[in-house]
Symmetry: D2
């Protein structure tokens, strides 16, 4: 199951700092594997905020929310208590109702990398809907260079 996930070439990167607390670790003495998904979510939600499209406003004003449809996760080395990390993202692809991000959690080197496929659904019925126009416009600047090799 070799993944070798890599950031989309020429993509803009967005990152938030993440500190590791006891709440994030397990009895193995390292960050619990599912906790990294929490770190990745923080980066996505802060990015939406920077785009002017906070998740709570998307739900209230546009009746939509993003749900995770698929993920590929690659764990490279365990993060430990008190470590200062960074959770980052870059847009890999965007469609009418979907968004695929490359994400990573890193200290001095990468702890884990992820490809995250999100779908936009109506907040009330959880049915597939198109991305709100203002959100679509807002992340135009974040799309990878057009010469990027499509999947």
């Amino acid at each position: 199951m070799a993944l070798m996930l890599h950031p989309p070439p020429g993509a803009r990167r967005f990152a938030v700092p993440v500190r590791v607390y006891y709440q994030d670790t397990d009895a193995g003495g390292i960050v619990f594997h599912a906790t990294y998904l929490h770190f990745l979510e923080r980066a996505r939600m802060e990015w939406l905020r920077v785009l002017g499209c906070d998740a709570s406003r998307l739900a209230a004003e546009d009746d939509c929310l993003f749900i995770v449809r698929a993920m590929r996760l690659e764990y490279l080395r365990p993060a430990v208590l008190d470590e200062l990390l960074e959770a980052s993202l870059a847009v890999a692809r965007a469609g009418a109702a979907q968004l695929t991000l490359y994400q990573a959690v890193s200290g001095n080197d990468d702890c884990m990398r992820a490809e995250v496929n999100l779908t936009c659904v109506s907040a009330s019925k959880l049915r597939l809907v198109r991305l709100p126009a203002r959100l679509r416009a807002a992340f135009d600047d974040w799309l990878p260079a057009p010469t990027a090799d499509p999947e």
Copy 2:
């Protein structure tokens, strides 16, 4: 990122019941995407117990633990509060220091499916080690039929 994960043909299946509580949900009204990884871990740890190799004994007696090296996750439909689910696993492949499982969380139908690649490491130094012989022997009965198509 079409995944279409499927159980290994002819594999034995192990499952534990999982009930959805408020602690497992988020403000979208559904189970939080990272919570399914907790459900999957419960199935893995109960399976180890059935094999006579509880995680705490593996750490104390064999100085080893399993860490997640990679995962592919496919979310099919959201689970909701109070729903009774099942977290299951089947062995896809086993190597000297690795184990790949097909896992799923299901109600009447599948909520999510996963391919989970685990590595055995020393509990004290987190370095790659061979699976303990008694564990290797214990899951011989769980390996897929030899005619199964190798990856």
Copy 3:
């Protein structure tokens, strides 16, 4: 801050089994202190189910949910990985819109004890409402003996 919480005299006890997984522990090698609150919630939700008043039905049919208004928590000894515990509850007091439970998480002996004060609120507006009549009736059998010393 001596607490010395004790079960209400003569109270009926309800309990659910809880197994400790890596997800419940922290790098101290023990169950993370906030995780016990998850265990306590599981006992409360299973008790509501036994009363015929699942939390999801309370929300959908009676537009109400319980929120925690106050807790006193006393930690006695740390639980560890793979330990089989029991999360229990007994009704201490019930009012028009409130419910106070004595709860505990125990193995061979008590790991922690709690007094949990819950308030019934409308699911839509989060405003204080009276407990639904059918729920009130359902836990009549669970109230402590009338001779119990009121607080």
Copy 4:
């Protein structure tokens, strides 16, 4: 169970910002009650860092860690998705092996307040030990005014 927790008079206050993500909420549409304990822990660990006594160094160099021995929690109003909160602390009392903090999670007003009693234990054996001298010295500046009414 009226708590009415209040900060120790004249105490120094330490606070960290906390943003609410989906991971912190539940299907009631608000922050899950146990999540506030995670917010409180972040404030405690950042305060230790400011004191020059990171939790990981306390464990590695002084073989000690803090465990929660008791808590009183008072929930005043629910926090919601995307809300920017502050988790704070002030020292209420310090003993040879114990530390009692007043803590709160607040937005424009207080969401919850807590009294948190911590005990210092050896990281290896979880037995009661005295607070390391350098830590004791470090939080001298944080003790409440000597005229504060002792419990």
